[in-house]
């Protein structure tokens, strides 16, 4: 879509994203992690580690939830987002494997050279798991 066609109050909604174990594994193949001699038992892969940390089950990495929001912004506003765009978010609720996420972006101010947006990600339970703001230049290169 064209950013110039947007206006305050307009809301964009993504297609649903199923964050299951297969998606998490595929995501891990696309990131560069520090080399380790032995795999670390962690809250993303191990029931006991997750329970010790206070979660009922292993949780998905917050980075993947954040990544699909960033991709949604790029898909919605074009490559101008990569030249002057900004995204900030808090991961306020855990995402469990099998959750379906939907990304939302609402334009709160389209005065000036940049769009100001409120962004959030909702799970199929209707709870917001990510909340934040974004800024997108109106002029795409």
């Amino acid at each position: 879509m064209s950013a110039a066609a947007t206006n305050s109050g307009r809301e964009l909604v993504s297609k649903p994203f199923l964050l299951d174990a297969a998606a998490a594994e595929a995501y891990q193949q696309g990131v560069e992690s520090p080399p380790r001699r032995t795999p670390r038992v962690n809250i993303h892969t191990d029931d006991e580690a997750a329970r010790t940390a206070g979660f009922p089950a292993p949780i998905a990495g917050g980075e993947q939830t954040y990544a699909v929001m960033a991709n949604f912004m790029l898909d919605s506003f074009g490559s101008g987002f990569l030249r002057g765009g900004r995204l900030q978010a808090a991961l306020v609720k855990p995402v469990f494997y099998g959750d379906t996420l939907t990304m939302h972006a609402r334009i709160v101010d389209d005065d000036g050279p940049q769009l100001q947006l409120e962004v959030w990600t909702e799970s199929q339970r209707g709870e917001r798991v990510l909340v934040g703001t974004a800024r997108v230049p109106k002029q795409s290169p």
Binding site: F17, A23, A26, Y27, Q28, Q29, G30, V31, E32, S33, P34, P35, R36, R37, R40, N42, I43, A49, T52, A53, G54, G61, G62, E63, Q64, Y66, A67, V68, A70, N71, M73, L74, D75, S79, F81, L82, R83, G84, G85, R86, L87, Q88, A89, A90, L91
Partner: protein, 184 residues
């Protein structure tokens, strides 16, 4: 600026990809893809050793087209910018593909610990990161706080073209450090 002077001589134009990866690993202190000994140089990852103002990095790498494609698959993206037929001309990296550079910066300075829980993140995008681009990333701990028994820290880091020094991205992670596997 040791890296900026070092990297042009090992750019993809001069050496094979395998040799370039090996040279970058050596420069990053990871030997031939092996992690450093825990007794070497690094500090235990614990609240007592994390202080505001600590500089982390730099680390160097070349943006691999294969990583772009794997990351796009991992986020089920079909954006053509991430493909070899990008309408932008260059194959572009997804916006947060190198978000995990924070982990490389931490691993270069710390060992052990139980990991952390990602609480907040922000990114400022200045220029697209492109396939085969040599990149330098460095950061610093900007903030630490103990609150209600939890230990929070913020690591701010930026990525630049390692040859031209063009700023590509600034970002920061706020994390809650797990201590003995627990948040608090």
């Amino acid at each position: 600026m040791r890296g900026a002077n070092f990297l042009p001589s090992v750019s993809p134009l001069n050496v094979s990809g395998q040799n370039l990866a090996r040279l970058i690993n050596l420069f990053n202190g990871r030997g031939d893809g092996q992690s450093m000994s825990d007794s070497e140089k690094r500090l235990l990852m614990c609240p007592e050793n994390i202080h505001a103002g600590m500089k982390l990095g730099p680390v160097f790498y070349v943006v691999r087209p294969e990583q772009i494609e794997a990351f796009a698959r991992g986020t089920r993206s079909t954006n053509p910018l991430f493909t070899g037929n990008s309408p932008a001309g260059d194959q572009i990296a997804p916006p947060t593909m190198r978000l995990q550079d924070y982990a490389l910066l931490i691993a270069a300075h710390f060992y052990g610990g139980s990991g952390g829980v990602h609480a907040k993140h922000w990114n400022e995008f200045h220029a697209p990161m492109r396939a085969n681009q040599p990149v330098k990333t460095e950061g610093r701990i900007t903030w630490v706080e103990r609150k209600r028994g939890k230990f929070y820290f913020e690591l701010e880091y930026e990525s630049r073209d390692a040859v031209t020094d063009e700023l590509l991205m600034r970002q920061a992670i706020t994390s809650v450090l797990l201590q003995e596997g627990k948040i608090a």
